[in-house]
């Protein structure tokens, strides 16, 4: 099953289970969403539970928030992450603070699905990574699965959570990444990283599409240089699960963080800070990062998009470099 199929089927099952769940967004109805993540749902659940909204992201978020505090469990789709900016006020300014600001009396069980990421010839406005602000904001949970299995388990947890969850779906993984997904119902806990590959020599921390590129790179360097890379998939960007990272670095003494987002003041900065504070005496080498240049993500023209994106080859090079320090 692909990532997008697993998301669609999870939404379908949850909507069958709980009539308080409804979905809203642009083109999610008869069109089935521009990525078909909601394909067929309008037919099954009708237009009252599958609402095609006007082109207005702030109200998509604000209306979902209002419905959530009044007993519903909305799943809002922002068509592309690049268009989440108009909704920031309602998500970061409002939704994140509802429970805290009412001393626990009101709360917002809402899930905001945000397809993000590049390597899809999306240019400056269909390629963005937008996790930084959400991952910084107290009151939000931010999930970024990379496999069909994790997407399904984490989306279930997100939909059932009683607080707002920003659910990040990497567009490039939608159809590219396939994987086994058990039929029986299961959930994956929000806030838990997952070791996707064991290794003794170096700890690589990543998420999203970069997980797959990193796993490729890990195979390459293990074959070519016999370097054992432990690959940790963050899966949740807020709260960050530091235990497995620190535990792994304690064993390997080397940490490499790989992300698609630009590096300055980002998730990779925080991982590095956590390691530099809590695993300092375990480190044998500097904490290194693989990330794009400090430019707006990302040029439309192919040679430049390729230059911009981290690749398995670039990651492998960084691994070799770090293991020699």
């Amino acid at each position: 099953m692909t990532v997008v199929e697993s998301i669609r089927e999870t939404i379908r099952e949850e909507m069958r289970r709980d009539s308080d769940i409804f979905i809203m967004g642009e083109d999610i109805g008869p069109r089935g969403g521009v990525f078909l993540a909601t394909g067929g749902l309008a037919d099954e659940f009708g237009e009252e539970r599958v609402i095609d909204t006007p082109l207005a992201e702030s109200s998509i978020a604000g209306i979902a928030l209002g419905a959530a505090v009044n007993g519903m469990r909305p799943i809002a789709e922002i068509q592309f992450a690049d268009f989440v900016w108009p909704a920031i006020n309602q998500l970061v300014g409002e939704a994140a603070k509802v429970r805290y600001g009412t001393a626990g009396r009101k709360f917002a069980p809402m899930t905001v699905r945000v397809p993000y990421g590049g390597g899809v010839r999306g240019g400056l406005y269909h390629s963005q990574s937008i996790e930084v602000l959400f991952a910084h904001t107290p009151g939000l949970k931010v999930v970024a699965p990379a496999t069909p299995y994790d997407a399904r388990g984490l989306l279930r947890s997100a939909i059932r959570a009683d607080d707002p969850v920003i659910f990040l779906e990497h567009k490039r993984t939608y159809r590219l990444v396939r994987g086994e997904v058990p039929d029986q119902e299961y959930t994956e806990p929000i806030g838990r990283a997952d070791i996707k590959r064991a290794g003794r020599d170096l700890t690589l921390i990543t998420y999203g599409l970069m997980l797959h590129y990193s796993l490729q790179a890990a195979e390459t360097v293990s074959a070519s240089d016999g370097i054992g890379v432990e690959v940790i998939d963050l899966r949740t960007l807020r709260p960050i699960d530091s235990e497995p990272i620190l535990e792994s670095v304690a064993r390997t003494g080397r940490a490499l963080i790989v992300q698609e987002d630009t590096p300055a003041v980002s998730v990779s900065s925080e991982i590095s800070a956590i390691i530099a504070q809590h695993a300092f005496f375990d480190l044998d080498a500097p904490v290194m990062r693989v990330a794009p240049p400090e430019l707006p993500p990302m040029p439309f023209t192919p040679l430049q998009e390729a230059e911009f994106m981290p690749s398995p080859a670039k990651i492998a090079t960084a691994i070799r470099h770090l293991s020699e320090l």
């Binding site: 409804f22 009252e48 539970r49 609402i51 909204t53 006007p54 207005a56 702030s58 109200s59 978020a61 604000g62 209306i63 979902a64 928030l65 209002g66 419905a67 959530a68 505090v69 009044n70 007993g71 519903m72 909305p74 108009p86 006020n89 309602q90 300014g93 409002e94 603070k97 509802v98 429970r99 805290y100 600001g101 009412t102 001393a103 626990g104 009396r105 009101k106 709360f107 107290p138 009151g139 949970k141 959570a161 009683d162 607080d163 806030g191 709260p239």
Partner: protein
């Protein structure tokens, strides 16, 4: 006050054919609450000047609009998204002076947010009411979402969302009214137009005179009413609430009022309001206007009015005493209630 009949009257103030069900008692109740609001409002301003209340926005000038509005709704089933200038509405909804003062003094047990937020922000223990933030305009799409949920669940509830003329300039106002118009959700957009967004006068906020005139852009009814007239306000809101309750969707009601004091205790409106403007607006103080209506209907006389004023002052004095003798919430309390699952430990600072 046994000498006041409770039987409905055909109340009428110049220019109004009143066909609602306001009884003498209702009108008296409204008036008493307005007096209480005014007395409390003046006390709060004083507490700020004494350095005890960090900040306050005054409801003075908005009292009739708010009383008329709340009395046209049903607190037992309706929902309210308020903003910071709604002291009178809060009192009409049964909030006590002590509860209000604890907000301004940020004391322990404050009902809306346990003093995590500014006064009038948070939610209410007895009424379905909230004001999540100070960010002007955000409540409008939220209200539409609240009403959408009620529509989906076929619940008999109307959502009243309050906003000022300033909020009408926000993109969120457009998006909210547009969606409400499309989906006919049971919401009343209640604009208290006091002609100023802090210091910015209406003519620099919009190229038209009336916000209600925009209702047609969203295919909803819009009415502009004199918000210093408590009966007119009551009637206009009643109509909008009835419309929403009977499944006919949203309405926009604009109540024109005056902001009798500066924007907040931090403001000085002589910087931007002309002496004439300030003189003129004082003539539209809703309290004397309402008092006159009640006198005309024989609901109050000098004696009763004095009783009311004395009662209001006593209420405020007692409340001030209680609130001031309440401690601040302890620091450690702040570490709780960020998420449903409180076990997610927040590291201490």
């Amino acid at each position: 006050m046994a000498n006041i009949g409770a039987d409905p009257i055909a109340a009428s103030s110049p220019g109004h054919v009143f066909d609602g069900l306001l009884s003498n008692r209702d009108l008296l109740q409204m008036y008493r609450t307005m007096r209480l609001s005014r007395a409390l409002d003046e006390r709060i301003w004083m507490l700020n000047r004494q350095g005890k209340a960090a900040i306050a926005a005054s409801a003075q000038g908005h009292e009739a609009a708010q009383a008329g509005t709340i009395f046209a709704t049903d607190p037992a089933r309706d929902r309210y998204l308020i903003y910071y200038r709604q002291l009178t509405a809060m009192l009409c909804l049964g909030t006590t002076p002590v509860e209000m003062l604890k907000q301004f003094l940020a004391r322990d047990g404050e009902i809306m947010s346990n003093a995590r937020q500014f006064p009038l922000h948070g939610s209410h223990p007895r009424v379905d009411l909230f004001s999540f933030s100070n960010v002007v305009g955000t409540q409008l799409p939220q209200a539409v979402g609240v009403a959408l949920a009620d529509k989906m669940k076929r619940r008999d509830a109307v959502t009243i969302v309050f906003f000022g003329d300033g909020a009408a300039s926000q993109g969120d106002c457009h998006e909210a009214m547009n969606f409400a118009g499309i989906h006919k959700v049971p919401v009343v957009f209640l604009c208290e137009n006091n002609r100023y967004a802090i210091s910015v006068p209406l003519k620099q906020q919009m190229p038209i005179e009336s916000i209600a005139a925009r209702a047609s852009a969203y295919n909803i009814p819009g009415t502009e009413v004199d918000g210093t007239d408590i009966i007119a306000s009551y009637e206009a809101v009643s109509e909008a609430v009835t419309r929403a309750r009977s499944g006919n969707g949203a309405s926009l009601v604009e109540l024109t009022v005056e902001r009798l004091l500066p924007h907040t205790t931090d403001d000085d409106h002589t910087r931007y309001r002309s002496p004439e403007d300030i003189e003129q607006m004082k003539k539209r103080d809703p309290l004397p206007v309402t008092e006159a209506i009640l006198r005309r209907h024989g609901i109050i006389d000098d004696e009763i009015n004095r009783e009311i004023l004395d009662w209001a002052r006593r209420e405020v004095d007692d409340a001030t005493h209680i609130a001031e003798s309440t401690p601040f919430p302890p620091a450690p309390e702040m570490y709780h209630g960020l998420f449903a699952d409180d076990s997610e430990e927040i590291d201490r600072a």
